[in-house]
């Protein structure tokens, strides 16, 4: 019975091909628009999430305070207010996963006849975990390297390529400001961060070595920045609060005195970026859905015309034994088939143009299975919703009137 009805619906669609095709076009454009918009929106979300995950999650930093000497103000992290001991104390706090005191700056690197300026980060082993760095080859340095200030370095992919070309840098000796460093490992690639800076253009060395040999420090044991990773996004506010309290206590700041350090939430910016793209993606989908609605109205319009045209046919079918629900099903099926066929073509159109956009621009496009499923579901729902009224109108016809219709 259903099979017979399907083939009849197919025949009805074929009876007036141009009209069916035009009706379908509304659905094609609607579904195509939804698919491409969702692909772009999800692509943007994916790109942002990707960047966030390379930055490391639930991070905040504490910068040492500024100082003023002879009327000259130093700016953030100019003063020696934070110490390595501070960072060790923070590590004991509840909810803290990783703590890494860091000191960084841009320095010239030399290997053989090549030289290259890269961001040099002096830090401790937890830094690698906090920033989600992986080791592509070689090995990371350990706490003992920090204690004894060994001259070892981990190279980012960009730095390694510029300095060593195709050579394997592991085991080679390069120089940072005249000091020889042995490259003990190469870091996995992370790509650019939200500001567009290349995160792979970096060198990581032990903090103690950096302070003594590379940057120099006016006060031994002081540090310009401490990076702290909380165990979860929910724990962030609590950890930041307890860190502030601990540092104020350690720095002997009385009530009412300003903090002698600055605190920055690194994840907040990323979160808001993610939120923005999420909103954009919903907005794009909503706008595209309007064309789907218009396509649905087109189906309803054509089905109403079709019911009127085929009044006599409906009368004949009723006379030979079609029940109301048979007629209802027949027209509903036709509407759903038009919308599903339109949906299928729309999917092809949407996916095709998404791939085209991807090929022409460097925009990230994500076509997820769920967006395809949603498009199909919505198309079927549109077919049923907009096909129901015309189908019901057909089913409610009086057979005598319908048979008399010319």
């Amino acid at each position: 019975m259903l099979k017979a009805m399907l083939s009849e619906a197919w025949m009805a669609m074929g009876a007036n091909r141009l009209r069916t095709a035009l009706t379908m076009l509304g659905m094609v454009i609607g579904v195509g628009a939804v698919v491409i918009m969702m692909a772009i929106g999800q692509g943007a979300q994916y790109a942002v999430q990707q960047t966030i995950s390379t930055m490391g999650s639930n991070l905040f930093i504490v910068l040492s305070g500024s100082f003023t000497a002879a009327g000259v103000r130093s700016g953030t992290a100019g003063g020696p207010t934070l110490t390595v001991a501070d960072s060790e104390a923070v590590a004991e706090l509840d909810g803290v996963v990783n703590v890494a005191p860091t000191h960084q700056g841009r320095r010239q690197l030399v290997f053989g006849s090549q030289n290259w300026s890269a961001n040099v980060v002096g830090t401790t082993p937890p830094y690698l975990e906090a920033r989600a760095w992986t080791i592509a080859s070689g090995a990371a340095f350990g706490d003992s390297d920090v204690r004894s200030a060994t001259r070892v370095a981990l190279l980012g992919k960009t730095t390694a390529q510029n300095l060593f070309g195709d050579e394997d840098p592991v085991g080679k000796t390069m120089r940072i400001q005249q000091n020889p460093f042995i490259v003990i490992g190469v870091l996995g690639s992370k790509g650019q961060n939200l500001d567009g800076n290349d995160q792979d253009d970096t060198v990581i060395i032990p903090l103690s070595t950096a302070q003594r040999k590379v940057f120099g420090t006016p006060f031994l044991g002081s540090v310009r920045m401490i990076m702290i990773q909380a165990e979860s996004a929910e724990a962030m506010p609590r950890v930041m609060e307890s860190t502030t309290a601990l540092l104020r206590q350690r720095h002997r700041l009385r009530e009412g005195m300003p903090d002698d350090f600055y605190m920055r939430n690194l994840s907040a910016a990323a979160e808001s970026e993610a939120e923005t793209t999420r909103t954009m993606s919903i907005l794009l989908g909503a706008i595209a859905s309007i064309s789907l609605l218009v396509g649905g109205i087109g189906i309803m319009n054509i089905m109403l015309v079709s019911v009127t045209e085929r009044t006599r046919e409906i009368g004949i079918r009723m006379a030979i034994g079609a029940r109301e629900q048979d007629i209802l099903m027949q027209f509903l099926l036709e509407a759903v088939m038009i919308s599903l066929a339109g949906c299928l073509l729309g999917l092809l159109l949407g996916i095709g143009s998404a791939l085209l956009v991807n090929a022409i621009t460097s925009m990230v496009i994500v076509i997820s299975g769920s967006s395809v499923l949603v498009a199909f579901g919505v198309a079927a729902a549109v077919g049923i919703f907009f096909g129901y009224y015309p189908a019901q109108k057909a089913a409610r016809l009086d057979p005598i009137e319908a048979l008399r219709y010319q």
Binding site: M1, K3, A4, M5, M11, A12, A15, R312, E313, I316, R317, M318, A319, I320, G321, A322, R323, E324, Q325, D326, P399, I400, L403
Partner: protein, 237 residues
């Protein structure tokens, strides 16, 4: 005497109009025995169309009872009436009323679709019935490719395909020339000989002459009921 296949008692149908209740049919009593061939005659507006619509279960009466194959259908639900039309009645119309987009075989098989017969069986049965009306070779043609007389044969095949008790034919020769009309009537007589009850609406006396019995309507009432002067040979059952 066997139980009548159609029995109407005090049948009436009134329509609401702006001028008040209009009685299209009043107080009709009629019995039709299995295997009968009856011609319903009368001028336009005599109520014969209303009567046929009631017999065809396309409409329900406002008065009286209608027993079709022993069951009172006067107060049945729409779906039950549809089922009854499908299983017990066959319709032949003046305008043939084949579905233009379907080939002849599918047209003939359509009542079987609504009767719930499987696809393979549908094709076998429809092919056999189409062959019976002499159009076995045309199964794949569209209705527009064959003549009016052939289309009416297909319509008769469609009416026959569910093995109905009664065939209701509404001016089946109205759109045909006299030669073809005679052929169609010969087919009806043959079917009648095989035991199918036929109720035929016509206003042409020479067409009505093919029936065994003629009833006449006037102003919504049954005014005469008589056997045809030279009746054809009796039915087999």
């Amino acid at each position: 005497m066997t139980e009548p296949v159609i029995r109407v008692v005090g049948l009436g149908k009134s329509y609401e109009t702006a001028a008040g209740l209009f009685p299209a049919l009043r107080d009709v009593d009629l019995e039709i025995q299995p295997g009968d061939f009856i011609a319903v005659m009368g001028p336009s507006g005599s109520g014969k169309s209303t009567f046929m619509n009631l017999l065809g279960c396309l409409d329900t009466p406002t008065a009286g009872d209608y027993f079709l194959a022993g069951r009172n259908v006067a107060h049945m639900e729409k779906d039950a009436l549809a089922r009854l039309r499908n299983s017990t009645l066959g319709f032949v119309f003046q305008g043939f009323n084949l579905l233009p987009r379907m080939n002849l075989l599918d047209n003939v098989a359509l009542p079987l679709v609504y009767g719930g017969t499987g696809k393979d069986e549908r094709r076998v049965v429809a092919r056999a019935v189409l062959a019976k009306v002499g159009l076995g070779r045309y199964g794949d043609s569209l209705p527009s490719r064959i003549s009016g007389g052939q289309q009416q044969r297909v319509a008769i095949a469609r009416a026959l395909v569910n093995k109905p008790r009664v065939i209701l034919a509404d001016e089946p020769t109205g759109n045909l020339d006299s030669q073809t009309s005679q052929e169609i009537m010969a087919l009806f007589r043959e079917l009648n000989r095989e035991g199918i009850t036929i109720v035929l609406v016509t206003h042409e006396p020479d067409i009505a002459a093919h029936a065994r019995r003629q009833v006449r309507f006037l102003d919504g009432q049954l005014v005469s009921d008589q056997a045809t002067a030279a009746p054809p040979e009796p039915a087999a059952c």
